[in-house]
């Protein structure tokens, strides 16, 4: 082995190991997708074969004959080594046990071949310096591959072959059984196409090539007369014509310097083919995965719309709570004044009512309105309760009816099946529970948002309502009646009963105002206060209404940041990544084959989908 050759060999080994490492890594990832798992299974088998190729990367190529019975496989082998070593005959089938021809000096114990199964012949022959030649039994006289049949024996040997000499005749070149078997055998092999019986048959190579072209890359087909060639050699002559070219071709193409190239080609073909099949399967299901994702988005939109509508309604319905909170906020800002005292009083009573309604609060919207702090506490309590009872029904209170969720999960499970995602456990409730749980999560984050938003809105409105001018004006108007009553009382007390008689303005002191005055005064005070409160809160209500509407609208437009099925979405993303990974792997395999252009290896091979013609 030359130094250059060795370097090349080592570089190849490195590259190959790198590729295998990547493949193993990829195989270790588990994706819950049917085509992905089946591709991984297929690849596992192929990797095993690749491993055996890797071990004997530089051992002599194993070249085997392949073809129908009576096409002259044994004759060809005899002619190739120049002596009659394997029986060729007129009875069908002649060869039942494979005959392995090897060079005298060669040791085949590491080759992985089951040497017990074959008849080994050790010879001294030019060709055998570079290759091991196997004369295989035919694939077309057996009706099944029962153990011991020719087909079974053949199938056992084929995986160890690097090159197949595909031998055919005018009678057999379109034989269906052989074609089917070849498709199986040819993956991971390089092919040499040979028509025999040149002495008897017509040349059908053009037609044959046409037939082969669909599935095979066949650059050259030989037409040989093996009997004549053997005769020539036995009589000490060089065989002539096509047979000589075949010999030369084999020597050139199968020499020791070509081993790496051929094995590399076989290896990459094998991997490329498996991956190509996988990609095809991926391609078939990908649209369904996309559709699943689409449907998830649709469902999310649908549920979101439903949710927004319910929110808006609830926000508008629970106006009372708004008002009370706004009242409290206003009182806090108002400072100490008569009207604020009144407001405080009324909100004190309102607070009492609110705490009552807090106890009764049934939905998270109401909770949000009552106040974020209390709401969170309430929710926590409910959460604990839920952990105890495992009942999630109570929490899906955002107003999304259960039946919508059911429909959604029913649909999703069907689309899931379409997309080839592994089927969920048969316990059908799980998806629904997942969905509910997700909604609860969404609800929780929503509660925080709405709570803050409500706080902001309230402080905004309170701000506007407690501007100094407005405040003073309100106070002024409110004080009109108390001032009037006070004046009236003062007038009576100081003037009418005391000062006026004293100063002579009145003849006698008028009597002090009696209960008859105070009761109506008090009554009217209450009425006045009431009127004031009502007037104030109606103004407040007007403002609130517009800002609630505003808030509701904004909520309706708010995007729900997370999807409904985070797990499923993750799976879909994982599938996308898997498809991407497979494309990259194929690219890598193709690259690995790389420079190995067709011009370099002019052997034939199986066509792989997506592989460009050379």
């Amino acid at each position: 082995m030359t130094a250059g050759h060795e370097r090349q060999h080592l570089a190849l080994l490195r590259e190959l190991d790198e590729l295998l490492l990547q493949l193993r890594e990829w195989q270790g990832l588990s994706v819950a997708w049917k085509p992905a798992s089946s591709l991984r299974r297929n690849t596992a088998a192929v990797l095993e074969r690749v491993q055996s190729l890797r071990v004997r990367l530089d051992s002599p190529l194993v070249v085997a004959t392949f073809g129908g019975t009576g096409t002259g496989k044994s004759s060809l082998v005899n002619a190739l080594v120049g002596e009659e070593v394997t029986a060729s005959g007129r009875q069908r089938p002649t060869t039942r046990r494979p005959v392995l021809l090897q060079h005298r000096d060669l040791d085949l114990t590491d080759s992985g071949l089951n040497l017990k199964q074959v008849q080994v012949c050790r010879l001294e022959s030019g060709l055998l310096r570079d290759v091991v030649l196997i004369d295989c039994p035919d694939p077309d006289t057996s009706e099944g591959d029962s153990p011991g049949s020719n087909l079974a024996v053949l199938r056992e040997i084929l995986p160890y072959c690097d090159v197949l000499l595909y031998v055919t005749t005018q009678q057999k070149y379109r034989s269906s059984r052989i074609a089917e078997e070849l498709i199986q055998a040819a993956s991971g092999c390089q092919l040499v196409f040979i028509q025999t019986h040149a002495d008897l048959d017509s040349d059908i190579r053009d037609d044959w090539k046409r037939q082969l072209d669909d599935q095979f890359l066949a650059s050259r087909i030989f037409l040989v007369d093996s009997r004549q060639a053997l005769l020539d050699q036995q009589e000490g002559r060089q065989p002539a014509g096509e047979f000589r070219s075949l010999q030369r071709f084999l020597q050139e193409q199968l020499g020791s310097s070509r081993r790496l190239a051929i094995r590399r080609a076989s290896l990459t073909d094998l991997l490329g083919e498996t991956l190509a099949e996988g990609q095809l399967a991926y391609g078939e299901l990908s649209p369904h995965v996309d559709r699943l994702r689409e449907v998830m988005l649709e469902l999310r939109d649908e549920l979101r719309a439903e949710m927004s509508a319910v929110l808006t309604q609830e926000l508008l319905q629970n106006r009372g709570i708004w008002e009370r909170r706004l009242g409290t906020a206003i009182v806090d800002r108002w400072g100490l004044s008569p009207f604020s005292a009144l407001l405080r009083l009324s909100s004190g009573i309102g607070g009492l009512l609110a705490s009552l309604s807090f106890l009764r609060a049934r939905s998270s919207v109401q909770m949000a309105l009552v106040g974020a702090v209390q709401g969170a506490r309430w929710l926590k309590g409910v959460g604990e309760q839920q952990a105890e009872t495992e009942s999630l029904n109570r929490l899906s209170t955002l107003g999304i009816p259960d039946h919508l969720l059911r429909s959604a999960s029913l649909k999703i499970s069907r689309y899931r099946a379409d997309a080839g995602l592994d089927r969920m456990d048969q316990q059908s409730g799980r998806e629904l529970d997942d969905l509910r749980r997700q909604l609860v999560r969404m609800e929780r984050s929503f509660l925080g948002d709405v709570g803050q938003e409500v706080d902001r809105q309230i402080s905004l409105v309170a701000e506007r309502l407690t501007r100094p001018v407005r405040r003073w004006l309100t106070e002024l108007i409110f004080l009109l009646y108390p001032v009037f009553v006070l004046l009236r009382m003062g007038h009576n007390f100081f003037w009418e009963t005391c000062l006026a008689p004293l100063l002579g303005y009145a003849e006698a002191a008028a009597p002090l105002l009696a209960v008859e005055f105070y009761i109506p005064a008090l009554f009217f005070l209450v009425v006045w206060c009431g009127t004031g409160l009502v007037a104030f809160s109606s103004g407040l209500r007007g403002r609130l209404h517009s800002s609630i509407q505003d808030l509701a609208d904004r909520l309706a437009e708010q995007q729900l940041s997370e999807g409904l099925y985070p797990d499923l979405e993750q799976e879909c993303d994982e599938i996308d990544r898997e498809v991407q990974r497979l494309t990259e792997l194929r690219q890598m395999v193709n690259d690995f084959r790389g420079q190995l252009a067709r011009s370099q290896v002019s052997l034939g091979s199986l066509r792989i989908s997506g592989q460009p013609d050379s």
Partner: protein, 661 residues
């Protein structure tokens, strides 16, 4: 004697025709079964391509030349025909359609069409016709005066190439044929597919004449007996003679292939030959002479042999072979029927058909809420009440509503919810059940998809797709929304009441009396109740007690909830009636649920399953069907007839050869 025989064969043909018809009908019912269709079965092809066209028709002999690609079928055929009727090409799988040479008797195409029902007949134009690539199964025919008047000679496509359609076309000819010339070569005589083909032909009682073509003479002389032996062992063919043709392309092209005939046992057949008839002996003599000395004589050897074949006998043999295969317990109709039975049982098991409800199982339909029924019931009574009672009840109804107002407010009944009698909740509950049922049906279908045959899978796959499910759910929702529950309830109540009236008049009368009495005593009871401050409390109590059917039923017959406390007295007075009323009421509810469940089943049937459930049901119970029975009976008849005809034939056979008429 001949007429008697003819009668038997005619009867046989009629039976075959009946059988064919019955199988056709049976086939329509079993699409969903995981069983190969009859038309994919060999026996069925024999029935349609051999027995129906040829049973009972006058005797002629169909001779087909068959073999692998490039073994020289067309050369042999041309030589037999004495003209280049079929193009022989060095490229394989060239012959794509059969070519048929007919004696002048068959010059009417209609008659020929009868014999080859599966092929489209075309008149032969030139030798390249058969190479025509065409999707249809063509058969080119021409008259040939050289042929004996009872021979139809066919060239066929190959039986082993990658063009599988060729195999099918040849199989079809094989079925119609009586005599098959097997063109073999040393390369192909032991190919698995070739063996299989001739094994079939032999099993069907065809007479097979092996012709070894492209033989190297004399090198192969010691080999051909071995070839023949291997071939016969592999295929079960028992030939009487074998012909050899030398590997001589020039002679083949010139249609001058010198055949030589060998009797079984090879060249050492001399002692056997003595046992043969004189005619055959003479033939062999001729062949030996011809083969060795005068090649030209050998060229007509095969044709001469065909000419002297006992046509009627061979024809009967092939018919009998076909009939035997048809009735064969392992590969014929009996086996098919057995598979059918098994598949039907399997389907029955998997689909749950045979249990009462089959694919659609509606479980636990919710009971319609009591108040809703009561409302409808009281409406029903109201229009049948006398005027005075109507007035009282109306007034009380209004008063009751007014009285209930504050209570409702206190209980914060959501405003604007019109159907406060629980119908909305009931609707939701119903929809939940609908969804559950859909899910169950889907699971059932999934199981069918996993276990069923291809046809069933095909059908179910579409139903299970996500898009279909979405569409189904929205359609069901729309239907469910459109459904007028109250109308349905009204109809049911109306029907039940009328039924009650006619079936149990005394109960009906009692209820009626209660209704009237309650109206009469209402003012009294309310006055009493109000005086002790019980008025609104009655309202409060009513919904609490409302869950108990008995009380509420009593309430209905009495009037609105306001009077319940007082009128309980009336109901208690009629205590014997209460149990009956209660059970009657439960029946009413159950009746409603049943109607709704039926509605759902109908909807699912219409929008999801279509005919599937019915078809599955039919397929699963096919064994009990009339058509199945007819096929079985036809088969029995056939077996009996065949047995009879054959035994007669055998009796006659020993003496004479059968004449053609």
């Amino acid at each position: 004697m001949a007429t008697e025989k003819c009668g038997d064969w005619h009867e046989c043909r009629d039976t075959a025709a009946d059988l064919h018809r019955a199988i056709g009908l049976l086939e329509q019912q079993i699409e969903l079964l995981d069983v190969q269709a009859a038309r994919d079965q060999e026996w069925y092809a024999l029935l349609t391509e051999k027995l129906l066209p040829q049973l009972g028709s006058p005797e002629f002999l169909v001779v087909a030349v068959t073999g692998g690609t490039n073994t020289g079928k067309s050369s042999v055929f041309n030589q037999l025909a004495g003209t280049r009727a079929s193009s022989a090409s060095p490229l394989a799988a060239g012959t794509r359609h059969p070519v048929c040479l007919v004696p002048s008797e068959f010059s009417e195409q209609a008659r020929l069409q009868q014999i080859f029902p599966e092929q489209r007949l075309q008149h032969w134009q030139n030798a390249d016709d058969a190479l025509l690539p065409d999707e249809q199964n063509l058969l080119f025919w021409r008259e040939c005066v050289e042929l004996p008047s009872h021979l139809l000679l066919l060239d066929t496509p190959d039986i082993d190439s990658d063009a599988r359609v060729n195999w099918k076309r040849t199989d079809s000819i094989r079925r119609a044929a009586d005599v098959i010339i097997a063109v073999l070569t040393q390369q192909k005589y032991n190919d698995a597919v070739v063996r299989e083909f001739f094994r079939r032909a032999a099993a069907e009682g065809r007479t097979i004449i092996p012709v070894f073509n492209q033989v190297l003479i004399p090198e192969d002389e010691p080999y051909w007996p071995v070839w023949l032996q291997t071939f016969c062992e592999g295929s079960g063919v028992v030939p009487e003679v074998v012909f050899l043709a030398p590997a001589d392309r020039r002679a083949a092209a010139a249609m001058q292939l010198p055949f030589s005939q060998r009797l079984m046992g090879g060249s050492a057949s001399a002692d056997q030959a003595e046992e043969k008839t004189a005619a055959e002996n003479e033939l062999e003599q001729r062949s030996c002479v011809a083969g060795d000395a005068v090649p030209e004589a050998g060229t007509r050897l095969l044709l001469d042999y065909l000419r002297q074949l006992p046509a009627g006998q061979l024809r009967l043999k092939s018919l009998r072979g076909s009939l035997d295969l048809l009735c064969d317990p392992a590969v014929g109709i009996p086996e098919w029927l057995r598979r059918l039975r098994q598949a039907a049982e399997r389907l029955q098991r998997d689909s749950g058909i045979g249990t009462e409800d089959g694919l659609i199982r509606v479980e636990k339909w919710p009971a319609v809420p009591v108040p809703a029924v009561l409302e409808v019931l009281s409406d029903w009574w109201r229009i049948r009440q006398p005027a005075w009672a109507q007035t009282i009840n109306r007034v009380y109804g209004q008063a009751g509503k007014m009285l209930l107002q504050p209570v409702n407010l206190l209980r914060r009944r959501p405003a604007g919810n019109e159907q406060s009698d629980g119908l909305q909740e009931y609707r939701d509950e119903e929809w939940r059940i609908v969804q559950q049922t859909v899910q169950q049906v889907m699971q059932q279908l999934e199981r069918l998809q996993d276990t069923g045959g291809a046809a069933l899978q095909q059908r179910v796959r579409g139903m299970l797709s996500g898009d279909a499910t979405g569409a189904l759910l929205s359609r069901l929702l729309a239907e469910h929304k459109r459904f007028d529950q109250q109308q349905e309830l009204r109809e049911l109540v109306d029907r039940s009441m009328q039924q009650l009236e006619s079936e149990r008049p005394e109960l009906y009368r009692m209820l009626r009396r209660i209704n009237h009495v309650s109206a009469a005593v209402r003012p009294v009871t309310s006055a009493v109740l109000f005086s002790v401050g019980f008025g609104p409390a009655g309202d409060l109590l009513a919904p609490l007690a409302g869950q108990a059917v008995m009380h509420t039923a009593a309430d209905v017959f009495g009037g609105t909830a306001a009077a319940i406390a007082g009128e309980a007295v009336v109901t208690t007075a009629a205590e014997s009636g209460v149990g009956i009323v209660q059970s009657w009421f439960c029946r009413l509810q159950a009746g409603y649920s049943a109607r709704r469940a039926t509605w759902l089943a109908g909807q699912l049937q219409q929008h999801l399953l279509g005919d599937l459930a019915e078809e599955i049901c039919r397929a699963a119970s096919v064994v009990e069907s009339e058509d199945y029975r007819r096929v079985a009976v036809g088969l029995d008849q056939m077996q009996e007839l065949t047995g009879r005809a054959m035994s007669e034939q055998d009796g006659r056979d020993s003496g004479e050869t059968v004449e053609s008429d």
